[in-house]
Symmetry: C3
Subunit: 159 residues, 3 copies
Amino acid sequence: RSGEMAKLTQLIDNEVFRAYATYATIVLLKMMLMSLITAYFRITRKAFVNPEDTASFGKGESAKKYLRTDPDVERVRRGHLNDLENIVPFLGIGLLYALSGPELSTALLHFRIFTGARIAHTFAYLIPLPQPGRGLSWAVAYSVTISMAYKVLKTALYL
Amino acid sequence: RSGEMAKLTQLIDNEVFRAYATYATIVLLKMMLMSLITAYFRITRKAFVNPEDTASFGKGESAKKYLRTDPDVERVRRGHLNDLENIVPFLGIGLLYALSGPELSTALLHFRIFTGARIAHTFAYLIPLPQPGRGLSWAVAYSVTISMAYKVLKTALYL
Amino acid sequence: RSGEMAKLTQLIDNEVFRAYATYATIVLLKMMLMSLITAYFRITRKAFVNPEDTASFGKGESAKKYLRTDPDVERVRRGHLNDLENIVPFLGIGLLYALSGPELSTALLHFRIFTGARIAHTFAYLIPLPQPGRGLSWAVAYSVTISMAYKVLKTALYL
């Protein structure tokens, strides 16, 4: 089966596909970072949602007071959900776009702007920056995904 | 590297794969539309969640009153989350299904019913239609995904 | 086009790719199960969020009392969202990892540990088990994804 494996390796050798693999991984790692930031704020702000998570603070009322929402925790969680809503379309549409035979330079432009805009979005959400900082970074990444979707449908449309 | 590029283009030339690319893109664009509908309701209902989003309405108490939940906004957000919960499995399982060598007509049937059911689900959620409208459209799309998962496991099972 | 179809079938014939297809499907089916568990708890606990879902319980006040949150429903929903946050990165990074030419035994180790850890996470969340049961299962699956991401970037990096 080494022949097949070679064929697969060829896919990952294709430059557009490698660029997709790189930026998709970066943007997914960025999204995964949100879990760690949420955990950090939950622990430092002592704001938990599951009773079993506060057991180490004692029993009964003394632990119950840590079952509460905290504005910083909720802010990170909103940023995380916004990542899911926007990075899932990028993953799917971006993969199909990478397979639709775009120019390498055009593909790199799409992947780089999307990734940069989503990283900017995270900073804008967590600092937070005044609007329209967050709104603009969201709209840029959204538009890049729409542009890739247009290329996919133009190349592959089969209804 | 043009030989490899040609090979990739062959993947997107495959009719089952093109059908997957088309319906996956449509259903992701539909999901992305939920962000715009949420933004529309947040602005028209003046119901925001981040303090920095209400800064244009003035300072202090006059802006604070717009930091509130609105039933229409929450409804769209639930529809959006339900999309994520159901479209993510379709993306992953559907891709593997498209690569598992199904008949073109069978594959089209799966992709079309899933996409139609999820569009119906959005209408059922946002209008809203009386039950079991929303429940049925959810169940149809769910069943289509299960059917594709069965084919994938039957073809590819390697534990 | 049977030649191309054969080529696609070769992809699904590759053992690493078949292993990815198998475990990705299993973990997505597990995630889809959370929808059914949520529905089960909503119905048995009579705790709904959409007014149209309580219409069968009568009109006006008699139905309104079922529009409420229930701790068991909320717990399942948190588990479901945690699945989305962690299984989406596995889907994307795992696919790229499977295409990056890993050893079959190494790939199987990654896929099996991730899948086992996420199933353990669900049990830890729903029973619930005392901490650090849920935390550990989460961290194991998270670390496996990071390990795969490292291999993808090492193989494919193209910035």
